[in-house]
């Protein structure tokens, strides 16, 4: 295998790995957050506005790690910084 093939396969594998771990962890965490939010919503329906607002904001903050994983995977797949280097090395 030449350098481009190695770099490409490693990039694709790492992107999938990164996205799978990031998505499952963020999904689990958001599930816990929504579950406890709904519990407190059922206990205090009067505070629905404030509870759901806080829940949405904390969901967004929890989701940030998943979004980071997505951005890193996209960089690996489409804007890999070592791609130009690999191509120029192979072309020599």
């Amino acid at each position: 295998m030449d350098l481009v093939a190695i770099l490409g396969s490693i990039s694709i594998f790492t992107a999938g790995f990164c996205l799978s771990i990031g998505a499952s962890a963020a999904g689990l965490a958001e599930g816990y957050a929504v579950a406890s939010g709904l519990t407190s919503l059922a206990q205090q329906p009067d505070e629905a506005g404030s509870i759901s607002r806080t829940m949405f904001i904390s969901l967004a903050i929890v989701e940030t790690s998943g979004i980071y994983c997505f951005v890193v995977a996209m960089i690996l797949l489409f804007a890999n910084p070592f791609w130009q280097y690999a191509i120029s090395t192979v072309a020599k």
Partner: protein, 242 residues
């Protein structure tokens, strides 16, 4: 395949020979839409029983945003934040909702736009902090538990606003990319629910960006202006401790 709107040239400005990429071009389109709608709506404002439909819609929108800000901030200072937060919310909302239009390239799917919005929030933190509580109290926030925490406080300010930028960018970009992947695989039915989900996500992201900006911007405030309920609670706690 990655939609990098910063590198796609829309047109070249005549005379100055300045290439305008799609991010700037679609930002101008969104600005034009917002300006046109607000101009049409506020053309002849009236008080009384008979007002135009436009004015009613605008009043509902402004009142909704005002109410949300009023619930989050203390001491009836919502009017201070309303122009900044409302503009952020309406701009991001329009950008996200206009992704439904075919061939429209949403500016929020580019890191430059969201980075610019986050920098605005970063500037807004000292601006509103000094305006509300004075220079001394604002600077005191950075050495709050102890002066040793100064670098961490500064760092948390930078990273939290940076995270806002990446969050908005990642959410909108993921919607765009998933849409185009679905279009490649199952072009007939499957993109539709994804687009509907994208509408929902865009709405939520605009709301969350505005609310987080409000949280960071209003983090420094005068304690004297607490609403009476909080003061009563504090007094009750103090008497309990005695």
């Amino acid at each position: 395949m990655l939609e990098i709107y910063d590198q796609q040239i829309a047109f070249v400005l005549p005379y100055v020979n300045f290439p305008v990429n799609w991010t700037i071009a679609s930002t101008w389109i969104v600005m034009a839409v917002l300006l046109l709608v607000s101009f049409l709506a506020t053309r002849n404002l009236k008080t009384g029983d008979k007002v135009s439909h436009w004015q009613t819609a605008m009043e509902v929108m402004v009142k909704l945003i005002y109410g949300q800000i009023d619930e989050m901030t203390k001491g009836g200072k919502a009017m201070t934040y309303l122009p900044f937060i409302g503009t952020l919310f309406l701009f991001i909302l329009t950008c996200n909702l206009m992704t439904l239009i075919p061939e429209f390239k949403s500016p929020t799917a580019s890191l430059s736009t969201t980075g610019a919005l986050a920098i605005m929030v970063l500037i807004g933190i000292p601006f509103f902090g000094i305006k509300n509580a004075g220079m001394k109290k604002y600077l005191k926030k950075y050495i709050e538990p102890s002066p040793a925490m100064l670098p961490f406080n500064v760092l948390s300010e930078l990273t939290s606003t940076g995270a806002m930028a990446v969050r908005l960018f990642g959410n909108v970009l993921s919607g765009v990319i998933i849409g185009s992947i679905c279009l490649m695989l199952v072009p007939f039915i499957l993109p539709l629910p994804m687009q509907v989900l994208g509408l929902f996500t865009g709405m939520i992201q605009a709301y969350i960006f505005a609310m987080l900006a409000l949280m960071y911007v209003s983090s420094v405030h005068d304690d004297e202006d607490e609403p009476p309920a909080v003061q009563n609670k504090k007094q009750a706690l103090e008497t309990l401790e005695k």
